[in-house]
């Protein structure tokens, strides 16, 4: 037996992550979503260099025109190139999306992990707070915040993040609680491993899956919220612009110049579409039930 062992090559195993990637790569919609996300991120980063026109560049003589060779997506009533404006708007929307999601992620994961791991009274109190906040009319509070403290982009990040962290906290908590009951965590306890080692080696790697999925699904949710606020005039303020604001302008003139509404609308919808498909695909790929056998 030992001699056999010496001769055999070590076979490589496929981890659950590799398994998930294989599954994900078969899901064309999810890959499409991933592609769009990458494209968008790259374009947004490079916008100041690759945008065809300046952001504020007006051409009052031209006025609002439909799509043409010079202006692929047309111009608005001040003659500003729509493609450029949509690119800059995307930059802002995406930034808000990522940062607010990061805020939600940070608060949510910490909250949920502590509640789930400590358990007992602490958990009961922490989750009661989450339940109460879930029931509150947050939209209303955000509107209030925006009105009261002025339209501060930093505040916008915090406010939106403060709404979205609740779901993340719930998910992380339920995952951590389920893991704590798992036998391999008990085994780790019985081996005498310290709490921190258990968290680091056993709990966190097994929590990453749902966290990744819901982070991906939070980004479109956040972007939607920002667009909503901007549309109402309570979010991003001019001279900056976001897709929500562009849509607002577009609605005002939609009878005469429908493309001013349609193009930013498509940009927003397409992005949300892509991110949701990616999130769905990730959820299917990382589902432990189907990974088992």
């Amino acid at each position: 037996m030992v001699a056999d062992n010496l001769q055999q090559q070590e076979e490589c195993g496929t981890s659950l992550w590799q398994d998930a990637w294989v599954k994900l790569s078969k899901n064309y919609l999810a890959l499409f979503g991933l592609g769009i996300l990458c494209l968008l991120t790259v374009v947004s980063l490079l916008t100041p260099w690759i945008a065809p026109y300046g952001y504020e560049e007006q051409n009052l003589l031209l006025g609002a025109t439909g799509p043409s060779l010079d202006h692929w997506l047309g111009t608005d009533i001040f003659g500003r190139d729509m493609l450029t404006r949509i690119m800059y708007g995307g930059r802002v929307s995406l930034t808000v999306g990522f940062i607010a999601t990061a805020v939600a992620l940070l608060i949510g994961v910490l909250w949920g992990a502590i509640a789930g791991f400590v358990g007992g009274r602490t958990d009961a109190v922490m989750m009661r707070i989450v339940d109460i906040m879930y029931a509150l009319p947050f939209m209303i509070f955000i509107v209030l915040l925006m009105v009261v403290f002025g339209r501060n982009i930093l505040l916008l990040f915090l406010a939106i993040g403060a709404v979205e962290w609740l779901t993340m906290a719930r998910i992380v908590r339920s995952q951590v609680m389920a893991l704590r009951k798992q036998e391999f965590v008990e085994a780790a306890h019985s081996l005498g491993l310290s709490e921190w080692t258990i968290i680091r080696r056993h709990i966190i790697p097994n929590t990453l899956g749902p966290v990744i999925v819901y982070t991906t699904l939070t980004i479109p949710s956040v972007m939607l919220l920002e667009a909503f606020l901007s549309f109402l005039g309570l979010g991003i303020q001019p001279p900056q612009s976001s897709w929500g604001l562009l849509i607002n302008y577009g609605v005002e003139t939609m009878e005469e110049y429908p493309w001013l509404l349609i193009f930013p609308g498509i940009a927003l919808s397409l992005t949300l579409f892509a991110l949701n498909f990616l999130g769905d695909g990730l959820r299917d790929a990382l589902d432990p039930r189907t990974a088992k056998d």
Partner: protein, 311 residues
Amino acid sequence: MLRFALNRLLQAIPVLLIVISATFLLVHSAPGGPFSADKAVPPEVIKALEAQYNLDQPLWQQYVSYLGDVLRGDFGPSFKYSGRTVNELIAAGLPATAELALYAMLVALVIGISAGVVAAMRPNSMQDYLPMSAAMLGICMPSFLLGPLLVLVFGIHLEWLPVSGWGDIPGDKIMPSITLGTGYAAYIARLSRGGMLEVLSQDYIRTARAKGLSERSIIFKHALRGGLIPVVAFLGPAFAGLLGGSFVVETIFQIPGLGRFYVQAAFNRDYTMILGMTIFFATLIIFFNLLSDMLAIWLNPKLRQQAGGNN
């Protein structure tokens, strides 16, 4: 069941108090008073107005007197619309918003649940992909995009439906309700599909099939009860969302409802309006959450017995 309801109502009181206090503090910490927007008003007049509205008193005094008023159901006078009280304005705007929310909820539930159940009956087929793609579209097209687009197509180009008002012209309730309800219909479609699929893979559905029951009976009698649980759980947040969504829809379609009043009050710094409406909304949402929680418990025999006490 009654004990449960009372229990939850009692728990709701501190929550309301927090809401009232937080809103009060928030509103009063805003830079500039309610009248600072009107530049044409001379300072002596501002002082007089402030005295009239008690704004010159220390904050805690204002808080206590306000609290007292609220408990008596009086939200005070509006700052912006002189001569009218907040109560009046809420009463004026409530019918439209309530109807809008109701219709939107109906649209959401009927379309959403049907689409979800139909999709779950034949997963991964066209019967599944079509409704679910439409649902994804519904989620990704926010109301402030869908509304204007509908107005553009059906109101302006085709001229089939009226583009504004509520109850003035027949048919003017259609587009707003659809606009507001579509996003939720989409979400509910996904939830009910997920719930139904989960239930249909359960052992007890296999038992029902083995007993020779028809597919209809299996879906409607055996599967639906469990499959709709995620939808019932969503009703509370959905209601809160509908109220928030009404802001946009009422603005787009010029509907004289609470949502539009609220946005205007926010812009106008109409303190009492904001306070009153926030409290009103919060109360509604808490109450609705309670109803949907009770519904969820009632639907589950095990929880129903636990809540109702011993048989």
